[in-house]
């Protein structure tokens, strides 16, 4: 900037400085301006225009002036020709008539002394003579000339009018003088006009510089380094004219514009600051949310892991407790058996009855432990996913049931090819429990019917196990799937109350649900689904 500053300051002392407008255009946006140079700015163009126009006008006026001058001088020569006719022709006639050559010589010498006269000759005309040059003086035909021929007349008797042409006076006047005078004049005019034009141009240029250009330079300079936040208002360094001129109006307009911009800029700044605050607040909130989320996730993970661990522990505990309970039961059973086998004869009926109760109790407990272990296994064991035909599994289960109670006649309908994926052993356990229940609870119906089929609910397959047995009270629906909760007395229907709880757990591990409906004496219907959240990952 200092370079430009300097050039602008020195511009006041050197009126020839002008702004390089093109470089302003090219350096829009405040790059340093090139120093103002006469050579490429308004100044030169103004100078050239003034000079060319002024020169053209000068040339035209000069030419006109010269033409007028030329005409005047040629007229002078013609006037001289007329003077010759009036003044010399009469006496020349007399001399020719008398053939006085010397006299003629003298006379035409006199004529030649007139300005611009270059050549003269006198020719005589006679009966046998055709235009013979009698006397000549000067040089003929050099340069541009004006010529005139005069008939030389002689009248013996002037009153009778018997005039006779006896010769011709031929005069050549040179135009060289005329021309050289014109050239001199032209040179003087051109030089003086040129000097005048140059001075006027310079003056105009200076005035333009003083009034306009230097202000343009400082404006360009100002605009170039314009900064919304720090630049003071634009002001021109000059004596203010009495009336506001175009520059003042421009400066005013610019200052209005910049103050408008400044206002806008300030508003923009405020809005920006608000936005920034807003963004910062949001970012902070987001970070907080992310942090809380992460914390929550971590907590959930921890809790889940804890829960899984304690679940596992509980399962392991359940398993080992149930397992360990078996050993003493087996002992009770063993010693009971020995008593029964070997001491029957020695003891009475009452003893028998109590022994029987002890052994029955041990047996029940053993059964309970077995189903407990099954329940535990249904959650503990690893799942192996494979293709399973539920229809086949159901048929197998029903066959076993029929084998156990061949005396019963139950109509069983199983829809064919119900194929899914899952753990074969666990799904078999599901079928065992559901069909086993259906089989068990339809015991008192002479025309027992059991069906296993599917329904479509949207794009989901729902498996349905239906019987027309004892049914259940819907009020106790929620207790149906709880372990060891039974809805029937054990004299009526035996069981441990763990079957449906096991089914629920197995289905949960297969991404499915189970729900039931029924009414007392009207049978029960159980519906279940598999893989509601999509097919299992570990496809075989």
């Amino acid at each position: 900037m200092s370079q430009t500053d300097k050039s602008v300051r020195t511009g006041g002392d050197a009126p020839m400085t002008s702004v390089d407008m093109e470089s302003i255009d090219a350096h829009e946006g405040g790059s340093p301006l090139a120093p103002a140079v006469l050579g490429r700015g308004i100044g030169l163009r103004l100078l050239t225009a003034i000079f060319l126009f002024s020169s053209a006008v000068t040339l035209l006026t000069t030419l006109f002036e010269l033409y007028v001058d030329y005409r005047g001088q040629v007229q002078d020569i013609r006037d001289r020709f007329a003077e010759i006719e009036a003044g010399y022709l009469g006496s020349l006639g007399g001399s020719l008539w008398s053939l006085d050559v010397d006299q003629i010589q003298l006379q035409i010498e006199g004529i030649k002394r007139l300005p611009d006269m270059q050549y003269l000759e006198v020719r005589e005309i006679g009966r046998n003579i055709k235009r013979r040059v009698l006397v000549s003086i000067g040089e003929r035909g050099v340069g541009p000339v004006l010529t005139q021929e005069y008939p030389i007349v002689y009248a013996e008797n002037k009153d009778k009018g018997a005039e006779q042409t006896i010769g011709i006076l031929y005069v050549e006047a040179t135009l060289s003088g005329v021309y050289s005078r014109l050239v001199d004049k032209a040179v003087v005019i051109l030089i003086s006009q040129g000097i005048k034009t140059f001075l006027v141009s310079m003056f105009i240029l200076y005035i333009v510089y003083r009034l306009v250009t230097r202000h343009l330079v400082s404006i360009a300079q100002y605009v170039g380094s314009f900064n919304l936040s720090s630049s003071p208002a634009l002001a021109l360094i000059r004596r203010r004219p009495s009336q506001e001129d175009e520059l003042d109006r421009m400066v005013g307009a610019f200052n209005d514009m910049s103050s408008g911009l400044r206002e806008l800029y300030r508003e923009l700044h405020e809005v920006n600051a608000e936005l920034e605050e807003d963004i910062a607040a949001r970012r902070k909130a987001e970070e907080e949310v992310t942090r809380l989320n992460a914390e929550l996730e971590q907590r959930v993970r921890q809790r889940t892991a804890d829960l899984e661990a304690s679940n596992k522990e509980l399962d392991a505990f359940t398993y080992s407790v149930s397992h360990d309970l078996r050993a003493p039961l087996r002992r009770i059973e063993g010693f009971g058996q020995i008593l029964d086998n070997e001491y029957t004869a020695k003891l009475d009926e009452r003893f028998h009855h109590y022994l029987e109760r002890i052994r029955a109790g041990a047996h029940d407990m053993s059964e309970m432990i077995d189903s407990f272990l099954k329940l535990s296994r249904s959650t503990r064991s690893e799942i192996t996913i494979e293709r399973v035909n539920l229809s086949d599994l159901a048929a197998k289960v029903v066959a076993r049931l029929r084998e156990k109670e061949p005396q019963r006649s139950v109509a069983v309908i199983i829809a064919p090819d119900m194929i899914t994926e899952g753990d074969r052993r666990l799904l078999e356990s599901v079928m065992e429990n559901l069909l086993g229940n259906a089989w068990k609870y339809s015991r008192h119906n002479k025309a027992a019917e059991i069906s296993f089929s599917t329904e479509q609910a949207g794009d989901r397959t729902v498996y349905v196990v239906r019987d027309n047995g004892a049914g259940f009270d819907m009020n106790y629906l929620d207790r149906l799937f709880m372990p060891f909760c039974r809805l029937h007395r054990s004299e009526e229907f035996e069981g441990t109350g763990i079957g449906l709880a096991t089914v629920l757990r197995i289905l949960a591990r297969h991404g499915g649900r189970i729900w039931g409906e029924g009414a007392i004496g009207k049978g029960a219907t159980f519906r279940f689904t598999l893989w509601e959240g999509g097919e299992p990952d570990g496809k075989p």
């Binding site: 397992h323 087996r330 009971g336 058996q337």
Partner: protein, 145 residues
């Protein structure tokens, strides 16, 4: 022919009594030696400690081994047995209430000859004990001493 010897490793005295009762009802001539824990079983086999004075050449025809034992466990007893040339040919039957698959696999890895689960019913247990004796003492040819 000397009496067959069965080494029964079982910690619970009731179970020992039941097992002995089951064996007696079979009328098969055999001495049943009871070791009440793993340590005693090894002492018997290697003729040390409580069984120091024993004729070591007199090895049992079969060892019936429970897995759940206080101190040295059943599988560890089996391992020690299989490590020594004098004892490694003794037929071993695991008789246990354990349903743990790892136990079954571990037993066979260590070269057990049979793995039997204790049934809940005493009648079934008696039958198994009978079969066991019949097979290992009569049907089976024991490794030479």
């Amino acid at each position: 022919m000397a009496n067959h010897k069965i080494l029964l490793v079982e910690d619970n005295p009731d179970d020992v009594e039941l097992a002995l009762h089951a064996c007696q009802s079979n009328r098969i001539d055999a001495d049943i030696i009871v070791a009440r824990d793993g340590e005693e079983a090894l002492e018997y086999l290697f003729c040390t400690g409580r069984h120091a004075g024993r004729t070591c050449k007199d090895i049992p025809s079969v060892m019936v081994l429970d897995l759940k034992l206080p101190g040295i466990g059943g599988l560890e007893v089996l391992r020690s047995l299989r490590q020594h040339p004098e004892t490694r040919r003794i037929p071993v039957v695991i008789l246990t209430s354990s349903e743990d698959e790892a136990h079954v696999v571990g037993g066979y890895e260590l070269g057990v000859n049979s793995y039997i689960r204790k049934p809940a019913e005493f009648a079934a247990f008696t039958q198994i004990m009978s079969q066991l004796q019949r097979y290992w003492l009569v049907t089976n040819t024991a490794p030479p001493v």
